[in-house]
């Protein structure tokens, strides 16, 4: 708490500060070791993206199991940033873990990821094709009270930018096609986990986990999610402690999913991650918009819109978090199978 203005308790970014990052890293590593031991697995596999989250999880896993029992999987594809592979290797080398390179472009091509995505984009941009680059964007929730509708932004081979609002059908098809990327990566992570008898690490931070910024049965799938309880700001605070190189720590988060560079704010979140963390922190504690408006340098009305967006995304995330719903009684233990499915319910 940093004081009180007009009756509302004010909180600032210091509310998200970890008191002792090294102690937090040790505690997470202990919990991680216990969780994997409980699964009777012998180590950890994770996909490395060159971003802060997977790099920190690599460092935590190395701390938990020893670097020799952690495998980092590098899975670039044709839309990946040129930096992805280099930074992923940098993260792995910094914490001393082995890596394996699995370029997933051929898998994605075979399954029609790029073709299906491009066909969908052509529904709103008929000239879209070879040599073009594209991304999906959302308007700012802060600048307007209007509903946020996805648009596709594309650059043609001559460098001209095109922007069109997506139809519901085109939006769903673009997302469904690009989700092949996260699901293919997870399939490969589980392949290596199976052959090594390791557990798969999920790398969402609290903001991503809470708000549903992941693909169901894609990057949302994992055996353990070691940083899902930590705000993204706190993941950054752990980074140095667990050995993440400075270049990765100072890099802005991206989605690295579309062929044009795309920030996470353009595609999903309302504000940069530090501000989103603070809003989520306030929402988690039932604090009013006024409690963070000074720190965010936004009006209460603007913060209220962010809070509403947080609540809306939480509702959507319910589906992403949910396991399969069973409509009948299958016993108290998974796999017990002692109930007649004909009479269950």
């Amino acid at each position: 708490m940093t004081g009180s203005v007009a009756g509302a308790p004010q909180i600032g970014f210091d509310a998200l500060r970890l008191h002792d990052p090294a102690a937090t890293a040790d505690a997470v590593a202990d919990d991680l070791r216990q969780a994997v031991r409980g699964f009777r697995r012998r180590g950890a596999v994770l996909g490395l993206s060159g971003g802060i989250d997977s790099s920190v999880v690599a460092g935590l896993a190395a701390r938990a199991f020893g670097p020799q029992k952690v495998l980092g999987v590098l899975m670039p594809e044709s839309d990946s940033s040129p930096d992805t592979l280099r930074l992923s290797r940098l993260a792995a080398e910094a914490v001393g873990i082995e890596t394996v390179l699995e370029d997933i472009t051929a898998v994605l091509d075979a399954v029609g990821c790029y073709r299906r995505r491009d066909d969908a984009i052509r529904k709103v941009l008929p000239d879209y094709g070879d040599g073009w680059k594209a991304k999906l964007v959302l308007p700012s929730v802060v600048d307007s009270a209007a509903f946020r509708l996805f648009s596709v932004v594309a650059v043609d081979p001559d460098g001209n930018e095109h922007r069109e609002r997506l139809s519901a059908e085109a939006y769903l098809e673009v997302v469904a096609a690009t989700n092949f990327k996260q699901r293919t990566r997870k399939m490969i992570e589980y392949h290596h986990a199976d052959r090594l008898n390791y557990a798969v690490m999920g790398t969402p931070n609290r903001l991503e986990y809470d708000q549903g910024f992941f693909v169901k049965a894609g990057d949302g799938a994992a055996d353990v999610k070691p940083i899902a309880h930590l705000y993204k700001s706190q993941v950054y605070q752990l980074a140095e402690t667990v050995g993440v190189p400075e270049e990765i720590r100072s890099r802005p988060p991206t989605t690295d999913t579309y062929s044009m560079p795309q920030s996470q704010e353009e595609f999903y979140f309302s504000l940069p991650y530090q501000a989103m963390d603070l809003c989520l922190y306030a929402v988690d504690r039932g604090l009013p918009p006024a409690s963070v408006s000074d720190a965010l340098e936004l009006s209460e009305e603007q913060v209220q819109r962010v809070f509403d967006d947080v609540a809306s995304k939480r509702r959507m995330a319910g589906y992403l978090h949910a396991g399969p719903v069973l409509l009948g009684n299958v016993g108290s233990e998974p796999g017990a199978g002692d109930t007649d499915p004909e009479t269950a319910g």
């Binding site: 009270a145 509903f147 996805f150 519901a168 769903l172 509403d308 809306s312 509702r315 959507m316």
Partner: protein
């Protein structure tokens, strides 16, 4: 009930798998959890196709689309303007 309201209610109840009696005319569709970002996109698409009009980005506001009554009022206004 006007034809516009009937069409809007029918679309919302069918598309979002709701019972008709759940649709109070003045209840916020976002606060009810009916409209999310995908739902808004579907609703705008329905309005544009069914009533043959273009909804500009600046009209995609809660005061125009966040309840059955608001959607009907918006459509009445837009269709009346189109006739003039």
């Amino acid at each position: 009930m006007s034809e516009i309201e009937r069409d809007v209610r029918e679309f919302i109840s069918e598309n979002f798998i709701l019972d008709e009696e759940e649709l109070n005319g003045d209840a916020s569709l976002t606060r009810q959890g009916v409209l999310d970002s995908m739902g808004v996109l579907e609703l705008i698409m329905f309005v544009e196709e069914r009533f043959e009009l273009k909804v500009p980005d600046e009209d995609t506001l809660p005061e125009n689309f966040d309840s059955v009554d608001r959607i009907v009022a918006y459509l009445n206004d837009r269709l009346a303007t189109a006739k003039r």
